[in-house]
């Protein structure tokens, strides 16, 4: 438990540091990926909703404190987007699975690696949508260039989540868990 907590703390700190220092160096077409959101998506599938929420909250708080771009935006947006992805793609609870089975549905989860990518895609879609909406509310017209940049950011972050999930899940010990019967 303590080991897991330490790993979680280190992963959260690493996600923040990578987002604050490294993301700009790996930009494609001047569009930097959201490394923190990609790692949150990995944690969402690997560790669950509670860890997702706290990780997104800490990252949002640290970004809000250390890189204050706009008031409230990071502190609110990161947990909100992460929890939206977690609601859709985190492991379903036993209760939920039993409920689906009782309704005659084929209960179960999608493959974890696919859910990680889809979670990152959904989270980043919401994140970029809110950002564009915020910009449009401030009086700036949204044009094709901004939509293109948002699309690149979503796809780039999703691809990074798909790549990073393998080392992160291995480090978190997810691959060593026994399959649930």
């Amino acid at each position: 438990m303590v080991k897991k907590g330490l790993k979680f703390a280190l992963l959260t700190l690493l996600a923040y540091l990578l987002q604050a220092t490294t993301a700009r160096h790996i930009a494609i077409a001047s569009v930097a990926p959201n490394l923190a959101m990609a790692m949150v998506a990995v944690v969402t599938v690997a560790m669950g909703r509670k860890y997702t929420f706290f990780m997104a909250l800490i990252i949002g708080y640290l970004l809000e404190v250390m890189l204050p771009v706009l008031d409230y935006i990071s502190l609110i947006l990161y947990p909100a987007c992460a929890m939206l992805g977690a609601l859709a793609f985190s492991d379903k609870s036993e209760r939920k699975l039993e409920e689906e089975r009782s309704l005659g549905k084929r209960g179960g989860n999608l493959p974890a690696h696919a859910r990680t990518v889809l979670c990152a895609l959904l989270s980043m879609f919401v994140f970029e949508f809110v950002n564009l909406f915020y910009i449009s509310l401030s009086g700036i017209a949204i044009d094709g260039d901004q939509l293109q940049r948002a699309t690149i950011s979503i796809l780039y972050t999703t691809a990074l989540a798909g790549i990073l999930q393998f080392p992160l899940r291995w480090w978190l010990g997810t691959y060593r868990l026994k399959k649930a019967r």
């Binding site: 220092t21 706290f54 800490i58 708080y61 404190v65």
Partner: protein
């Protein structure tokens, strides 16, 4: 064999329950701390209370050195990767530039070679155009004799191109040698510095005739010697030696060289003068073969036209004696016998005109014959700009040396 006790039925450790409680308390506190920090930040932004910014300052003071260290590590890694990329790009650019430089150097060398060939061809064209009547032919040297005693090279023209034995070969307006051993596709050229070569020549200033031979096999120097000169004239250094046009079917007037030493009169054991060739025998690449053949018709035409060249003396107050030298050219008209009674003048004026005044068209006019059979040195080459020599003027007369005492005592 004793079966392992099921895990669920094993007695629970008392400490594990206490530990779980503490863990939950710890997790709850951590969550509360995080939520409290976030809440204090939100309320601080809303209310603007500076006291709520204290936790932010504490977090920032803790996080700043960590972030600085991490950022420096990331920057170092990025700089290293950037340098690697830059080095790879520089290496790539260097290789491309090196390749381009090699291509440019090759093109420059090719351009220089083509420029040199163009200048050579221009000079050849000038030489050919002024000696068109000599039926010139440009040939390329395809082989050199590497011996120390003979100077022979091979050209890529033969009987298929009209080349025959003993045709004059020139280069840059000067005689190089003559052809021999001609086959269908190639011919050998013996240069004038070869000791086997023997060419009839004359000194342009005094018109003294002699024979030029090479000295390469005699003393190893690329020079010529001129033999059989008259004894009563001493050529001066700088006098031009040209072909005389006799013996071989050479055109007349091809420059051979210039007189370098003329010590024949001072040293009685020397029966020759040293002639320095005009042609540069170390840099022979292209030559011109003068396929000159004195046509019988042309010679006959000249002879027939010269029939009218009858020397007619002008009227003088003194009687001119009749001189018979033996040559028809110099034979003077016979003196008419004096008559006692002068003949009456003819009535027809044309008869008088025919008999007393030579016809204008019968008088040979220099240059009237457009086809010259004497070698013409191209004007650009005669200036000495391209050959490095200048035809020395020989207008200044010099006293002839005292004739040798060749009297023979009579018994």
């Amino acid at each position: 064999m004793r079966l392992k006790e099921p895990k669920a039925e094993r007695p629970r450790n008392r400490n594990s329950g206490t530990r779980t409680v503490w863990k939950r308390i710890f997790i709850t506190l951590a969550a509360l701390v995080v939520l409290g920090l976030a809440g204090s930040h939100l309320f601080g932004l809303i209310t603007g209370n500076p006291a709520l910014g204290v936790p932010e300052d504490m977090v920032a003071s803790v996080l700043t050195p960590v972030q600085s260290g991490f950022s420096s590590i990331v920057d170092s890694v990025v700089n290293y990767l950037y340098k690697l990329k830059l080095r790879a790009n520089l290496e790539l650019a260097y290789n491309e530039l090196k390749q381009q430089n090699e291509q440019l150097v090759y093109q420059a060398m090719l351009a220089d070679e083509l420029s040199y060939k163009l200048s050579v061809y221009e000079e050849l064209y000038d030489e050919i155009s002024v000696n068109e009547s000599m039926n010139p032919l440009v040939a390329t040297v395809i082989g050199h004799d590497s011996g120390n005693y003979f100077s022979v090279f091979t050209i890529n023209k033969g009987t298929n191109d009209g080349v025959q034995d003993f045709m004059a070969v020139t280069m840059e307006g000067a005689l190089v040698g003559y052809t021999y051993d001609v086959t269908a596709t190639k011919a050998s050229v013996r240069t004038i510095i070869d000791s086997e070569a023997s060419i009839a020549a004359l000194i342009s200033s005094t018109r003294d005739q002699g024979t030029v031979r090479g000295t390469l096999g005699v003393d190893g120097t690329p020079m010529c010697r001129m033999y059989y000169l008259p004894d009563d004239h001493l050529p001066r250094p700088g006098d031009t030696v040209v072909t005389s046009g006799v013996v071989m079917s050479f055109p007349k007037g091809i420059p051979i060289g210039t007189v370098r030493e003329s010590t024949r009169g001072m040293e009685s054991n020397k029966s020759y003068i040293v002639v320095e060739p005009v042609a540069d025998f170390r840099h022979i690449e292209y030559v011109i073969v003068l396929r000159y053949q004195p046509l019988a018709e042309a010679v006959a035409g000249q002879t027939s036209s010269s029939d009218s060249l009858t020397f007619t003396p002008l009227e003088t107050s003194k009687p001119i004696p009749t001189i018979q030298i033996g040559s028809d050219f110099y034979q003077l008209a016979p003196t008419p016998e004096p008559t006692a009674t002068p003949t009456a003048p003819p009535l027809d004026g044309s008869v008088l005109l025919d008999s007393a005044t030579p016809l204008a068209q019968q008088t040979p006019v220099p240059g009237a014959d457009t086809q010259s059979y004497e070698y013409q040195v191209p004007s650009s080459m005669a200036t000495g700009n391209s050959y490095g020599f200048t035809l020395a003027p020989t207008a200044t007369p010099t006293p002839s040396p005292p004739p040798l005492d060749i009297s023979v005592e009579e018994d």
